[in-house]
Amino acid sequence: MRDPLVELTERGLYCRAGDFYIDPWQPVDRAIVTHAHGDHAVAECEHYLTAAPGRGLLALRVGEGADIQPLAYGDPIVHHGVGVSLHPAGHILGSAQVRIEHQGEVWVVSGDYKLSPDPTCAPFESVRCHCFISESTFGLPIFRWAPPAATMQDVAAWWRTNQQSGRTSLLLCYALGKAQRLLAGVDPEIGPIYVHGAVERMNAAYRAAGVRLLPAPPVLEAARGADFERALILAPPSAQGTPWTRRFKRPVRGFASGWMQIRGTRRRKVVDRGFVLSDHADWNELLAAIAGTGAERVFLTHGYAQAMARHLRERGLDAHPLATRFVGEAGGEELAASPASSDMPERPDEDPAAASEGPDSPEDDLPDAEGEPA
């Protein structure tokens, strides 16, 4: 049996034959970056290769001065005799799967992906391969998403309800990817939408790449006396509890993330409402994507890799977890979300009976993020 085409090294996924890394977590000479989320794109590599629509986002992440070579989806290049092409992953703008071909063997590294529709990026493309390295962030059957359109309607209904009580709808979401997807998906007729500065930087990059997004001025640039009571505010989780949010009177806080599927996670985030909206494949999408590649060998990375691999082995696939540095420690952005705020849970004081009441489930220890600090 020949050497694996892609192997895991201390610096990340490495293709020896082509002498390049995929999403390395330390600076290397040559890096193919699947997308611009912080846990996939490290700064200070000598040369970057990334899908053309994501070039601007990657430059935001690793610096304008970096040597970034854009590659159109589907365009093949050959490097040291290894064929490389990038294919849409449907995760965020410019996200790509990396197809690697060498001496008749084809491997695909998925990066992060989803199959459900997203108007802000190219849809996932199934690529046939011998070996598929798939993400498995939500690799448990409890994670099965409702259609995104239904979730968008939930967000809209929530926004309307908050408007009726004159309260700002503060929706926490990743600044990169999720915020733009929400902006593109929520009914703009309901009221004004404002964004946090971190979201605005990403919006600008999306617009520069030709993605049409509704006008959504940054909160700090909003006119004096802006009608925040009627507004939807999109902000990264790290904004929660900061002075920035104090300009909104009694905001109602929502959180849009796949982790909101679990009540315990939402409770720990101390938000009023969780919306299950993920840019990652759910259980069914993962199974469908893996089956679609026709791969005999599957490696799983991120999230519930062990469980997913075991399940696939029970179904006759040669599947194994692939340890990555980020398993279990993802989520810089969400980890920074502080639950501290002035109107936190009102504890009944000195009431022994009330003090005995509590959440009705043991607190588990789920990762706090969707696997991508932005």
Partner: protein, 378 residues
């Protein structure tokens, strides 16, 4: 069932007490009284006995969802809640249900316990095909005897009190004892008049407040007396109608958790109300607060099984109030009467209180509010 599941979700989603009360109130106002009765029953923590074991639920859900049991366990570990795990794993329902809560309870839930395994499984499969995720979560919690929701009884009482325009203590009283949920029971719960006697009702608890200003503001020193302050559970013992009622600060009857207090009933004169701290007591010493904490979460304690920490009440305020004169009776003799009626009164720390009705103009003194229930009660 749908409305009740929505209420459960609403209570689960908000951290604000006022919103929880509003959600309960809105639900109770919207549903038929039979449903409201059962909802109150569940919300205040009463539950039907477990009909289906968690082991069986795990097996049957794994089967229905087409996952191995080890994978169910992985999911359970990720979710941390069995009823929720099962709700998330099951395939989507093909039907919906409009059956109201009381019918679900009477027709689908209560009969489960008496059925054999095969019939239980058939019933569960039928239920799963009609219930969405939120409804299944509630259903699973009810059939496994694990229904709990993050509200204290106090909030349910507050909602009922608002609905019936009643004093919370009235509602708390009406919720006590054994009752069977029904439309009539719910109507009498929120009715303006009730034929129930008011014997058990406590007085409003008067709370201590830290003194903001200078102690001199409290006025002449001889208007005050120092009193021990204990680290216990604030409670009122109400001795009326030949019965003893023990109320917590949250206006819950907690006598069942402190069976050691029952014998006191016979030793207190009729009409006595003691407002003080419940303390665990053994061999002449006060035990640690931890001994008490073990009682807090429980609903019922058998006196037989809990002799280790008898809990005499140590009144910080004590006044005997014959019903007819209670409104005007001063608490001047509080200190004396308390030692009369509870001889084993002992002390570990100290707090201040006026020894008599504070002189005019000194009503802002913070300790005075602690001390004079009889005078401040109109």
């Amino acid at each position: 069932m749908r409305a009740f599941a929505a209420l459960y979700a609403a209570l689960d989603e908000t951290t604000r007490t006022s919103e929880k009360v509003a959600a309960i109130r809105a639900y109770l106002a919207a549903v038929p009284p039979e449903d409201a009765a059962w909802a109150v029953y569940f919300l205040i923590g009463r539950k039907p006995r477990q009909a289906v074991s968690t082991r069986k639920l795990r097996t049957w859900v794994s089967e229905a969802a087409g996952v191995s049991e080890w994978l169910f366990d992985e999911c359970h570990e990720a979710v941390g809640d069995l009823a929720e795990t099962a709700a998330l794993l099951l395939p989507p329902p093909t039907r919906t249900t409009t059956l109201p809560l009381h019918r679900w309870v009477a027709d689908r839930l209560l009969p489960l316990a008496g059925k054999d395994e095969a019939a239980q499984k058939t019933d569960l499969r039928a239920a799963w095909d009609e219930l969405d995720r939120g409804e299944r979560l509630v259903f699973h919690k009810l059939i496994t005897g694990a229904f709990r929701v993050g509200v204290s009884q106090r909030l349910v009482i507050a909602a009922l009190a608002e609905l019936g325009e009643l004093a919370p203590a009235t509602v708390a009283h009406r919720l006590m004892g054994a009752w069977q949920p029904s439309a009539a029971q719910y109507r009498s719960l929120v009715a303006a008049e009730s034929d129930q006697p008011t014997t058990s009702r406590p007085y409003p608890f008067l709370l201590a407040h830290p003194l903001e200003g200078d102690p001199a503001e409290l006025g002449p020193r001889d208007a005050w007396q120092a009193e021990w302050k204990f680290d216990g559970i604030r409670a009122q013992l109400v001795r009326r109608g030949g019965q003893l009622f023990v109320w917590s600060r949250g206006e819950e009857l907690i006598g069942e958790r402190f069976p050691e207090l029952a014998p006191i009933a016979g030793r207190l004169p009729e009409g006595t109300v003691l407002d003080g701290e419940i303390l665990p007591w053994k061999d002449g010493d006060i035990l640690s607060f931890a001994e008490l904490q073990r009682r807090i979460g429980r609903k019922i304690c058998r006196a037989r099984s809990s002799p280790r920490s008898p809990s005499p009440s140590s009144p910080s305020t004590c006044s005997r109030r014959p019903a007819a004169t209670s409104a005007s009776a001063p608490s001047a003799s509080a200190g004396r009467s308390s030692s009369n009626c509870w001889p084993r009164w002992s002390a570990t720390s100290c707090a201040c209180r006026p020894s008599s009705t504070p002189p005019p103009g000194s009503s802002s003194a913070s300790c005075a509010r602690t001390a004079a229930p009889a005078t401040s009660r109109a």
